[in-house]
Every structure is written in C-alpha cells, then in structure tokens.
Symmetry: C2
DNA sequence: TTAATATCCGACTGCATTAGTCTTGCTTCC
DNA sequence: GGAAGCAAGACTAATGCAGTCGGATATTAA
C-alpha cells in the first residue's frame, strides 16, 4: 500500500548526495548513478525532471553536472516526490480535476482527502537536510522538521 | 503519488455501507455493488478478502450476505487497506523482509521508514464510523480519531 | 576549430501490477 | 430439489513503471 515509485526514491537519494557534495561543485548524473548503483540513463532523466521543477540547477559541458538550486534545508521531500511522480492523490477517486468518477456516490472522498492533506504536510516537514546522517536520531531534525499535528 | 488501489477504495465504501445498514442484517455483495456502481464480481472478491481477514462475517445461502464483524468504530482504515492491498510500504526499498535491494547504499531508508510509520498511525486513527456523515467536520471524529503527533 | 563531456528530449520495449471477467463448486433456506 | 448467495481460482485486458536507445544541443578545454 501507498508505495512510492522507485524514481522518487532515486531522486531523493540523488538530492541527498548532491547536498553532501555541495562544496565540490556540480556533480554529473553519471557520478551519482555510480555512487548508488542506479541505471545512469534513468537517473539522468530524473535529474532533468528535478531541474525543470527548479529544485536543481544544471550546467552542460565539460565539468558540468547538477547542483542544488537551494539550500538542502529548503527543499522538502514533498516537492521532490511531487516533481517526479506528479500530483497524484491517495484515492483513485480524486483526480486532477477534483471530480469523482463514481457518479458522486462515493462518500469516502472527503474523509480521505484530509488524510491526503495530512500526508502532504508530513512530507512537507521533511527536508533533504534531514536525510543526511541516517544512523542517529538527529535531534536537529526533530527541531527543524518539527512536530506535525493532525486533527481529523 | 501515494495512490491507494481502487480495490481498497471499494472496500472502504463497502464497509461504510455495511456500517450504515447494520440494523437491516446481512447485505449481499450484489446489493452493495449496485448501490455504488461497482463491478459485482470484483466487489465479491474484495468482500471475501475482508471476511478472511476477520473484518466481516459472511453468511452463505438465501438471504445471506456480509455484515461487520465488529462495531464500526473498532475497524480502522489501516486494517482495511492492509487486508486488501497487503503489507506494502512507502519505499520500494523496504521489502517485506526488511532488506534494501540497493546493496546497503540506500541511506534514505531510515528517515522514510518513520514517515511510513506515521502514515500507518494516521490511518489507524481513522475508523469506519468516521466515514459516515461525510459533509460535516464531525467533532466526534476529532475526539475519537484524535491528534496524531509525529516527531522525526 | 575540434573533440570531449554532459545535459536534454522523445520514443520505445519489457515487465509487474491492477482491474475486471468467467467458470465452477459449495452452502443455506424455502 | 431449486433458487439465492458465498467461495475460489484461473484467466484476460489494460495500465503504469522501469529501464533502454538514439540522437540533438550546449559548454569547455586543448
């Protein structure tokens, strides 16, 4: 249930890598792909998508590559996922047009929309900077990422 | 992103229907399917799954059908979704065995597992009874469903 | 100017999952 | 016994995802 696509996974991993290597200048798609054993051509397309979404800046040519467009703590996981997987929703009901294809008989829509929004907020509270240092509990992240409270 | 399957949607809708009609005894799969314009045979299989999971009780024969195994407020959305869609996870990384197929190079896993757990808690706080009366904000649900607080 | 490096972009294929159908058998009630 | 209903598995069609291929364009270094 609720699976994220592999592309989104790859995208988050790449952003984390770029955040860590921010001092070393731009990194090529190939470098990132090799670091994580991701198919290079696939990652290239993902990075292109992220660049088009304004999360990365790209620079062609020799010694070119990708770099974060903003500081790592200003890029949320939600933005990354939405850029890659598109603005899909938790229910099959709720389409992009906001219409329910079940002839209005679907009364499930409204409660689940709130769940949807809650997850959205949850992901918005997580930033690329929080992904670094995976092993420990990172008290900084607890402060920055914050406490997400959700009322139904 | 994060789409629920149509089957899970159908399942939740069916449970809501059964909760509303709890006084009228068992309802046949066909009745529920007609009420929501769902393919009858598909819904039948979904209801069978829910019955096997212990969320519904089935009664064969004439005037048979399905009924809730427990009160509506004791059945959480999480149980329904897990019964239908299986124990899948937000990341493609985390498999049922808890292993990451990316050679341990995936450092994204741990932070996303927390998100996964948070969503799980969020869905566990929603019950079938909360799905009834969709239009209003249902203060009862806010009390019962509660406030979910998540620290990263 | 040329060659190397790298992004950019669309089309294509194979695969897995999902949605839905069909058929057959079993159970209960009248 | 027959009708109504559940139970269950095999099957097909459609969709979306993962990954590949080929080529075009931009930038830099020599």
């Amino acid at each position: 249930m609720l699976r994220l696509t592999k592309k989104a996974d790859y995208g988050l991993m790449a952003l984390k890598y770029l955040a860590e290597q921010a001092d070393s200048g731009a990194q090529s798609a190939k470098d990132v792909a090799e670091a994580y054993h991701i198919p290079p051509q696939l990652l290239a397309k993902i990075l292109q998508t992220l660049a088009k979404a304004g999360l990365l800046v790209s620079h062609a040519g020799t010694n070119g590559g990708y770099a974060l467009a903003r500081p790592a703590q200003d890029i949320s996981a939600f933005e990354v996922i939405r850029a890659i997987d598109g603005p899909l929703f938790i229910t099959s009901c709720i389409t992009i047009h906001g219409t329910c294809d079940l002839h209005g008989t679907c009364t499930i829509k409204e409660p689940l929309r709130k769940v949807n929004d809650s997850i959205k907020e949850l992901l918005s509270g997580i930033h690329v900077s929080d992904l670094i240092e995976p092993a420990e509990a990172s008290p900084a992240a607890a402060l920055a990422g914050g406490l997400v409270s959700i009322a139904l």
